[in-house]
């Protein structure tokens, strides 16, 4: 979709070469507006970007969201806390378990319920498995955005192994709905620990393949190194969290700084880079996969015995007040803010979605880079659109 180009006083321009030059000059000075999306393969969903271009250079990006705005927060005001869980799955479907966990932790905090240790461990393990699955999917689609189709098949091949673990224990591949306030829906499957350990040994062999296939590739290097810088000040000011923010040096890992569940019992490194370009956003996620495997290895053998759920009343009424819970989802900091008026439904619930803030920084990251680089930058931010729109 183009904006009408109106050249000042077009009647006076003739076919003379100098006039033609003037016309070209005037045209070059104007910005060319194009629409990207809402149905575009590289926006990873239904995001619409209105770009102002000068030649090939992106001058301004205006994201238009809302193509999947479902009003989940408003719907939640009519649902009980147990029922909310199934809607939070559908916000950021790649970190479904993290979103569930945030709501459950918030409700448990409000009711001052102490969940059994076993629940904490299992939640953390499933969190990390989910993070691995999400980063694998991101790796596939990032490769595909840059034209490496092989990555798509290799990444999803390994992801299926995690989904099998999920399916065996929780009963669903993608949207598990495994958490409930007070604990878990059911206990882990007897095969769970064996399968996770098998997966770690398998994936430790496969992850170096990712590097061989894509990380060292000259095309990827050329397209990502030195492209799309985000400085530390901007990262903090725009609230860019998750691996995208940590690539700029913003130490924002909630697992480390405000630990929840069993993260305080595991040793892991917060991945920090300082450059903040597309390549380091890529690298931060690859490194996070290694760290996730480390956490899994530490916890998987130490799951304590006990109940899989605390005793909860069938109808939960949160005491009047305000509660906030932050968790680290796959794309950054996810937060749940519940305002309760003492009823069985929340008065107001707000989900702080990481992608929403990450998207707001897209304009300053991609500005003054070429339009082809925008694909790489957008891919490296790893946006999930339903999480933005909610």
């Amino acid at each position: 979709m183009t904006e009408l180009i109106n050249v000042t006083e077009p009647d006076k321009l003739t076919d003379q070469p100098e006039d033609q030059d003037k016309l070209t000059e005037q045209l070059e000075e104007q910005e060319y507006i194009i629409n990207m999306g809402p149905q575009h393969p590289s926006t990873h969903g239904v995001l619409r970007l209105v770009l102002s271009l000068k030649g090939e250079i992106v001058k301004n990006i205006q994201p238009h969201c809302g193509y999947i705005h479902r009003g989940i927060e408003k719907m939640c005001e009519r649902l009980t806390y147990q029922q909310i869980i199934h809607l939070t799955d559908r916000l950021d479907y790649l970190s479904a378990h993290h979103n569930n966990e945030a709501v459950c932790l918030c409700v448990e905090k409000a009711l001052e319920v102490e969940v059994p240790e076993r629940v904490k461990y299992i939640r953390t393990i499933i969190d990390e498995l989910g993070r691995l699955a999400s980063h694998q999917l991101w790796w596939c689609s990032f490769g595909m955005d840059l034209g490496a189709l092989t990555a798509f098949f290799y990444g999803l091949r390994d992801r299926e192994k995690i989904l099998d673990i999920f399916e065996e224990t929780t009963g669903s591949r993608l949207l598990q709905s495994y958490n409930c306030p007070g604990g878990l829906m059911n206990d882990i499957h007897p095969n769970f620990q064996k399968r996770v350990k098998e997966f770690i040994t398998y994936f430790r062999k496969k992850l170096p393949e990712y590097d061989e296939l894509l990380t060292g590739n000259v095309i990827l290097m050329e397209r990502t190194k030195g492209v799309g810088f985000l400085s530390l000040e901007d990262a903090i000011s725009y609230g860019v969290t998750g691996p995208s923010g940590r690539a700029s040096g913003f130490a924002c890992d909630v697992r480390k700084h405000h630990p929840y569940s069993a993260y305080d019992k595991a040793e892991f490194k917060e991945i920090l880079y300082t450059t903040g370009d597309t390549f380091h956003r890529y690298k931060a996620r690859i490194d996070e996969m290694w760290e996730s495997m480390k956490i899994l290895e530490q916890l998987i053998d130490n799951i304590p015995e006990g109940d899989y759920s605390a005793k909860m009343k069938p109808v939960l009424r949160l005491p009047e007040g305000e509660y906030y819970q932050r968790v680290e989802s796959c794309r950054g900091e996810f937060g749940v803010y519940i305002i309760s008026d003492g009823n069985k439904t929340p008065y107001r619930i707000k989900f702080r979605s990481p992608n929403f803030s990450n998207l707001s920084a897209l304009n300053i990251i991609a500005r003054n880079f070429k339009i082809a680089d925008l694909i790489a930058i957008g891919g490296s931010l790893d946006l999930v659109i339903p999480d933005i729109d909610r």
Binding site: L79, Q82, H86, Y154, R157, E160, T170, G171, S177, N217
Partner: protein, 159 residues
């Protein structure tokens, strides 16, 4: 001179990174044992879902065509998206008392999100997840089901 050297190193680097990548794909090319593709319609008999797999909600019946659902409607209240409608009727028992029993347990598969709240909260364990996943149909109304079989009655001893 410098540019020529740079050009040649660039070409070398590009070819090298390409070969590294091809090595991985080449390995899988000559190892057909690592094929992961499953032949879906042909392997239907061997394809067993995990026991916890959530394909649909079913109401198990025993050999005497009896189920455990009392028609209390707790699943209907707990369902977050209204995919369950419980229709119960008043009947007169042998000793002359009036009692509510289940008439139709209507389940909208088209709206179900398989959250499991109905099954978890059911006081008499009347519902269960089924492993069937082949549900694709041509008309939407086929996705609305009545879970209790025709003529079925309440199992003895279930309150």
């Amino acid at each position: 001179m410098n540019s020529i050297v740079k050009y040649i190193t660039d070409v070398y680097r590009a070819v090298k990174s390409l070969v590294t990548g091809m090595k991985v794909t080449g390995y899988y090319f000559v190892h057909p044992g690592e094929i992961v593709t499953q032949q879906y319609p042909e392997n239907r008999k061997e394809l067993v879902m995990f026991e916890r797999f959530r394909g649909e909600v079913i109401m198990p019946h025993d050999d005497n065509n009896q189920h455990k659902c009392t028609g209390c409607g707790i699943c209907q209240i707990n369902c977050p998206n209204g995919s369950i409608e419980v229709k119960s009727i008043q009947v007169e028992t042998e000793d002359g008392k009036k009692k509510r029993v289940l008439d139709q347990h209507i389940y909208h598969l088209s709206m179900c999100t398989f959250c499991g709240l109905c099954i978890k909260t059911c006081p008499s364990n009347a519902l269960k997840f089924g492993n069937e996943f082949e549900h694709a149909v041509f008309t939407k109304s086929k996705l609305t089901k009545v879970l209790n079989r025709p003529g079925s009655t309440l199992m003895k001893g279930v309150q």
